[in-house]
Symmetry: C2
Subunit: 434 residues, 2 copies
């Protein structure tokens, strides 16, 4: 058997991690495959100051991605530049040129994965994307092959390492969101513009991809209700702990008889669950199968080498297909054509809820809030008030019996008008599905 | 595309679970594959009293496995009878007849996996065995594809659901091993003859398969040191908790510069780890990669449907290969030919240890034991003695600084001669590798 040639476009964190593994782990890769993977071309905006492993002089170094795609010895193109614009052009160009593509681009795959997969299929090549979700966790291999025989009925995940790091720091140190975010930025766990991470958009793209694969349904990120973590206070963790829960930015995809309920939002989850033990910059995914029941997957959510492992593992799989002539012929997206997994409005969601209020102390507040809940047919479960000093606006909590998101929203909206509230109530579901 | 034909030999728990999924989940399976899997023949010792799903009249029902193997429309044979004897004959016969085999047989694969794989390879067919380890966890898919690009440097597992159920029951209820075992037998979690489960032999077969796949080394179960859970007392959990640990039957495979350290033995593991949160009849595997760092996998260890999912997922993968003509050409076993992963004697193991003693109360016991430890150059870390009433023989604990298993064994052997001990000391490593 001869070699399979690789071209890498993008030499940021993931690109250099991939290159490092391809070079350092070359012997094991060849032993597992029976033939070598050889890097033939690499492309970066600039090669200044890059710490690259030693490569043969014959390897093309270019700043033009088209040279990588056109290189006759490149069989598989690795796209690790990210974003929607250039990445989409280059992936389409490579696929149309008959080259398989391995990508780590969650944003692009979430938005256009099924369409790009069709391009690949028409060209008789593959589009692999293990690295696009939960870097170090091989969740695509699990869904595509490992539990392919099962029917997924629910999927819960912690898919954004930055916000999980921030939440667990707030929990540990009792510090405010802004202070913890600044510290995370200093440590390099959060970007200068943290919006995509802390507002749930990054997690939403990832859930979009996972739910599309798990349920075989065409989904776009805007099908998913999402909410970030900026409003979480340290005191919310104290209340959550009283309830034997913790708070995580939870990605949730549940099948109901009417369709899919999809959301990314801060949620209370029981401390006794394994998911509650996922701390720091880790990712985790809980899958409920109709036959295999619960399985759980955990690992680094990002990082050059963990994500590089995902890229290299995809390269090995695609290379094996190229050598032995067997691309998959059925899209991992949208294998279900009956529409039973169409996304539902989040208002259909049902759960017990945690409602946290900040108020100016006056008599009759609980009575007023309880009256609004009763009006919307929501049963109150408990009222919690910690003996807090140094608070102007007395945060306290009401938990409810299971209710629909629709009823909770109507109640919250009516409460928001009350003159004793200093900000709108914070509502979080108390998730018990895993 | 036309169909791929399936023959099932064995209609016990796993066989009927597999059949149920193939029938109930047929539409999803066909949508994912692009063609159907069709059951063509089933074989059982008897069909009396079997609750089987409805099958077409054309499906062959037989008590002779040879009829399944010889059936011209059977492309893949499922072996789910277990054991070494008949199973080995039938798998070899099927492979030599040019039929791929899917098996759930851990005992056979642990003992002869690499050899059977060679038979399959020479015949140009596949031998798939996801169901042979940790039923509901797709760990083979993970090692073979998901993290193929990584180099595994350590693997820790809880691989026997029965003993994990018994240990967590002892922990919860403070009851003796014998009472909990009897209860587990009553509930169907333990077999009438519990030896394979509680003495670590079942877990040893599973670790043997996983380590062979993870490290690419030829291994047999007797390469693995194993020890069961019969000696664990409820009081061991009380001491473990004092040390912020719990006790699990831990399977451990660690790469060292000199070779592999392999063991199955009750071990103390820190309560703060995710592995310590694995309770009841669940399985879990912690993998350390040179590049991808830590990943973790959790699910049902057994059960007709979780194991059935593993069988059906293997069937889908092998069927895809048959349709598109691409069996793997490199053995998942023994891809490393340099011998750097040869198993080492367990005496090379290094760890802090927990030593538990039952003694007749006399003066000078601690001094005598500490003297023996000092003589073997083992540093004592702590002495723990709970205020226990109603104990004739006062169990107490000494923990050590890291020492080799060899030194610990010498010390324990010397201690065992002491007249104040009512039984030999119980030594367990305190595992901190994950």
């Amino acid at each position: 058997l001869t070699e399979v040639g690789i071209g890498i476009v993008g030499l940021g964190n993931v690109g250099t991690g991939t290159l490092d593994i391809l070079v350092e782990n070359a012997r094991q890769i060849e032993e597992k495959l029976g033939f070598p993977l050889r890097v033939k071309a690499i492309c970066a905006r600039t090669f200044d100051k890059k710490q690259l492993p030693e490569l043969p002089a014959s390897v093309v170094r270019t700043t033009e991605w088209k040279e990588v795609v056109a290189h006759p010895e490149v069989d598989i193109v690795v796209e690790v530049i990210g974003g929607i614009g250039v990445a989409a052009h280059l992936i389409e160009a490579a696929l149309r040129a008959g080259k398989s593509v391995v990508t780590a681009n969650k944003e692009l795959i979430a938005a256009r994965g099924a369409q790009l997969w069709s391009v690949a299929n028409r060209a008789g090549v593959n589009l692999a994307m293990e690295a696009s979700v939960a870097g170090g966790i091989p969740i695509h291999a699990v869904l595509r092959e490992g539990i392919a025989g099962d029917r997924v009925i629910g999927l819960y995940g912690i898919l954004n390492g930055t916000s999980n790091f921030i939440l667990t720091e707030i929990e540990k140190s009792n510090s405010a969101f802004e202070a913890v975010l600044a510290e995370a930025q200093r440590l390099g766990y959060a970007e200068a513009d943290p919006t995509a991470d802390v507002d749930g958009l990054d997690a939403r793209s990832k859930l979009c991809i996972l739910a599309a694969l798990a349920f075989g349904e065409k989904l776009t990120p805007t099908d998913i209700y999402s909410e970030g973590i900026r409003r979480i206070l340290p005191v919310d963790f104290r209340y959550a702990h009283q309830l034997k829960h913790t708070i995580r930015l939870l990605c949730s995809a549940q099948q109901t008889p009417d369709g899919l309920l999809l959301s990314v939002r801060p949620s209370l989850i029981p401390q006794s669950t394994i998911l509650a033990n996922v701390s720091g910059a880790y990712n985790a995914i809980w899958v409920k199968g109709a036959y295999g029941e619960d399985t759980f997957y955990y690992g680094r959510g990002a990082g050059p080498r963990p994500t590089g492992v995902a890229v290299v593992s995809d390269l090995m799989r695609v290379a094996r297909e190229i050598r032995f002539g067997s691309p998959e012929r059925v899209s991992p997206f949208a294998h279900d054509r009956l529409g039973e997994y169409r996304p539902l409005p989040i208002t259909r969601y049902q759960s017990a809820y945690y409602l946290r209020f900040r108020v100016e102390d006056k008599p009759g507040i609980i009575a007023a809030l309880a009256g609004i809940l009763a009006k919307h047919k929501i049963s109150l479960d408990a009222v919690l008030q910690l003996p807090l000093e140094n608070w102007r606006d007395l945060p306290f909590v009401i938990t409810t019996e299971p209710a629909t998101e629709e009823a909770i929203r109507s109640a919250v909206s009516e409460m928001t008008g009350s003159d004793f509230l200093t900000e709108p109530p914070l509502a979080m579901p108390m998730e018990r599905g895993f």
